[in-house]
């Protein structure tokens, strides 16, 4: 059994274009999207504001994961303390009410933050698909600069309009300082 679906083009992840400044990258994204390409990803050495909107990607929803994490931590922490003091191990501390909720607030708060922080970090890592030791873009030697001082735009081969030569020329026309084929 062969797994190769359509051996028409050499297996490419996409075409990678290099830019020197984030402004040039954004200008190129606008041009390329204007020509109808839609499967795009950009790689930058630092966060560039509004880049996901330019690329037409959906905004992240990680904040809801963090909110849920915080709620679980807070309610869980408060519930645990109530259960311990009311059910599991009720002790009379100097005649104070068993359900002395103000005393439970510090731990409830700390556990809210703890769980929310874990959801933030784990959520970010998992939604980003990390850890991911291999990714096709790393096959391009020059991609090392994406963590230093260069900005990259990748038109991925899954794009409906994808054609190696026309993508290359579109990217060059959009101001790319260099264009690379990314092997899959």
């Amino acid at each position: 059994m062969s797994h190769t679906a359509e051996p028409t083009t050499p297996l490419l992840h996409g075409i990678l274009a290099e830019f020197a400044e984030p402004e040039a990258l954004i200008a190129a994204i606008r041009k390329v999207r204007g020509q109808g390409y839609s499967k795009l990803e950009a790689y930058t050495p630092f966060p560039v504001e509004g880049l996901t909107d330019e690329l037409g990607h959906k905004r992240t929803k990680i904040q809801w994961i963090i909110l849920c994490g915080g709620l679980v931590g807070g309610l869980g922490g408060f519930g645990l303390q109530c259960w311990i003091n009311l059910v599991a191990y009720p002790i009379n501390y100097g005649g104070r009410p068993q359900f002395s909720w103000p005393a439970f607030m510090p731990v409830t708060f700390e556990l809210t933050v703890l769980a929310a922080a874990f959801s933030a970090v784990v959520g970010m890592i998992v939604l980003n698909g990390l850890p991911q030791p291999y990714h096709p873009v790393f096959n391009v030697k020059e991609f090392d600069a994406a963590s230093k001082d260069k900005f990259f735009l990748c038109v991925e081969s899954g794009d409906a309009k994808f054609d190696v030569e026309s993508v290359k020329s579109a990217l060059k026309a959009a101001g790319a300082t260099a264009v690379f084929e990314v092997e899959d």
Partner: protein, 456 residues
């Protein structure tokens, strides 16, 4: 000097000087850990720190072998050096979170070049702090009894106790600080991976960076997570020293049972933390030639925060004395008189000198720009804040209600060895950190540079 800019509300404060490009910032930040040679100064400093760390092993070994009786703690003063040092170290950590979270939320650009280092300092300070309550338990191998877990004894912790709140506050603080620090580090670890040439080193950075490639959607999630972590860390850091102060304020001991404690402790924590950042960064920026990233403006700002928080702390001292008189409570009144004129009076007046009087020199711009002066003042503040905890703990406990229970507390050489040992642990970790991880947040510096370019 760039300080003439301050008065005219220049939109771009000179928090990054020199002719930098994205590439040069990367190079500069990564060159320190990637330098294959250890400088003589680093080796010298590391050896001193590591020897003190050895002392810690010895001190802890002896405490494990003989028990906490080797310390000077006695009957009225059951909390001696261990709790003094615990509070001192936790306080030091607060500046790191203040810089990385609070200054981030209020968009202070000058935090960018110092936040990574300050956060590392937080982690190491909290690690040192955590040792003391553990050792003070006497049976540290049962430390996990403080956590709620189902056990065959059917026992649960007492959630009405500030000491249990403290367990949760400190462990949450340590964990969240580590997470926040790591999230900030991931992109820089990727830079280190791409810069490293020696294969094993490259592989280690590659694993730590988890294959970060700087994709736009990744950055968006990263930034959202970072922002929310900063938002959570802000109340967290305020809660931590508040809870630490509850350890005292919730008790009935004269000198402890006061409502001014939480804000006064938080201010003191930030005060001592900034002093420690100054103590460490002034030599480091000189030694590693980082003056164009950690500029005089940074030192100036940190000195101003030290001065401001110093006054908040001083206000706490004034209120403590005032309330001791105004409350009309004879035990409170006696406690204050004893503090000012009793056997530990020299410590009290030394603390007023160190925290209240000497930092007033920071009002003068010439002092704030003289690195030697400011470095010495920061050390004085560190000592002053240690004395503050000594005075609060020892003078309140050693003469409380019944004169027959009074006694004098004297630390032993093992107290000192444990304390010096934790300074060794702290400095050892700092020395290792600057040699293996980028101590300036590279990607944030590039973002700052981009921001500056855009507004020129």
């Amino acid at each position: 000097m760039s300080n003439s800019h301050d008065k005219h509300h220049e939109p771009q404060p000179p928090v990054l000087t020199g002719q930098h490009t994205y590439g040069s910032l990367s190079d500069k930040v990564a060159s320190i850990p990637l330098d294959p040679k250890h400088s003589k100064g680093w080796i010298f400093g590391f050896l001193i720190a590591f020897s003190l760390f050895g002392l810690l092993h010895m001190a802890i070994g002896w405490v494990f072998f003989k028990g906490v009786g080797v310390w000077g703690i006695t009957n009225p003063v059951g909390w001696g050096f261990d709790i003094i040092n615990f509070v001192w170290w936790v306080g030091i950590g607060h500046a790191g979170t203040f810089i990385s979270a609070i200054l981030f939320l209020v968009k202070q650009q000058w935090r960018t070049s110092i936040n990574r280092f300050a956060e590392a300092m937080t982690l190491f300070a909290v690690a040192c702090a955590g040792l003391f309550p553990l050792l003070h338990m006497g049976r540290p191998w049962r430390a996990w009894w403080v956590f709620p877990y189902p056990n065959t004894m059917g026992l649960w912790p007492n959630f009405h106790s500030p000491l249990i709140w403290d367990v949760f506050a400190i462990s949450t603080y340590a964990t969240v600080s580590a997470l926040f620090w790591y999230v900030g580090l991931i992109p820089d670890l990727a830079t280190m991976r791409d810069k490293a040439t020696f294969k094993p080193v490259k592989m280690i950075y590659a694993m730590l960076s988890m294959g970060w490639r700087g994709a736009a959607s990744h950055w968006e999630r990263h930034q959202m997570a970072y922002l929310l972590l900063a938002g959570m860390s802000t109340p967290l850091v305020l809660s931590v020293h508040t809870v630490v102060s509850f350890d005292f304020a919730m008790s009935l001991i004269p000198g402890w049972h006061t409502t001014v404690f939480p804000p006064y402790f938080v201010a003191g924590a930030i005060f001592s933390g900034f002093a420690m950042v100054l103590t460490l960064l002034i030599p480091i920026r000189k030694f590693y030639n980082l003056k164009d990233m950690i500029t005089d403006k940074h030192i100036d700002n940190m000195a101003k925060i030290t001065l401001a928080t110093g006054w908040m702390v001083f206000y706490g001292y004034i209120i403590e004395a005032f309330m001791a008189w105004y409350s009309g409570n004879q035990f409170e009144g006696f406690m204050m008189l004893n503090r000012m004129s009793g056997p530990y009076a020299p410590f009290y007046w030394a603390l007023i000198l160190c925290n209240g009087i000497i930092p007033q020199l920071l009002w003068f711009k010439r002092v704030r720009l003289n690195m030697l002066f400011i470095w010495l003042i920061s050390i004085v503040v560190n000592i002053g804040m240690w004395l503050e905890r000594f005075v609060i703990i020892v003078t309140s406990l050693h003469r409380d209600f019944v004169p027959s229970a009074w006694d004098i507390y004297t630390p032993t050489k093992w107290d000192w060895a444990t304390f010096l040992g934790t300074i060794g642990l702290f400095l050892t970790l700092i020395f290792l950190f600057i040699r293996v991880l980028p101590m300036v947040a590279g990607f944030e510096m590039k973002e700052l540079l981009h921001h500056r370019k855009k507004h020129q």
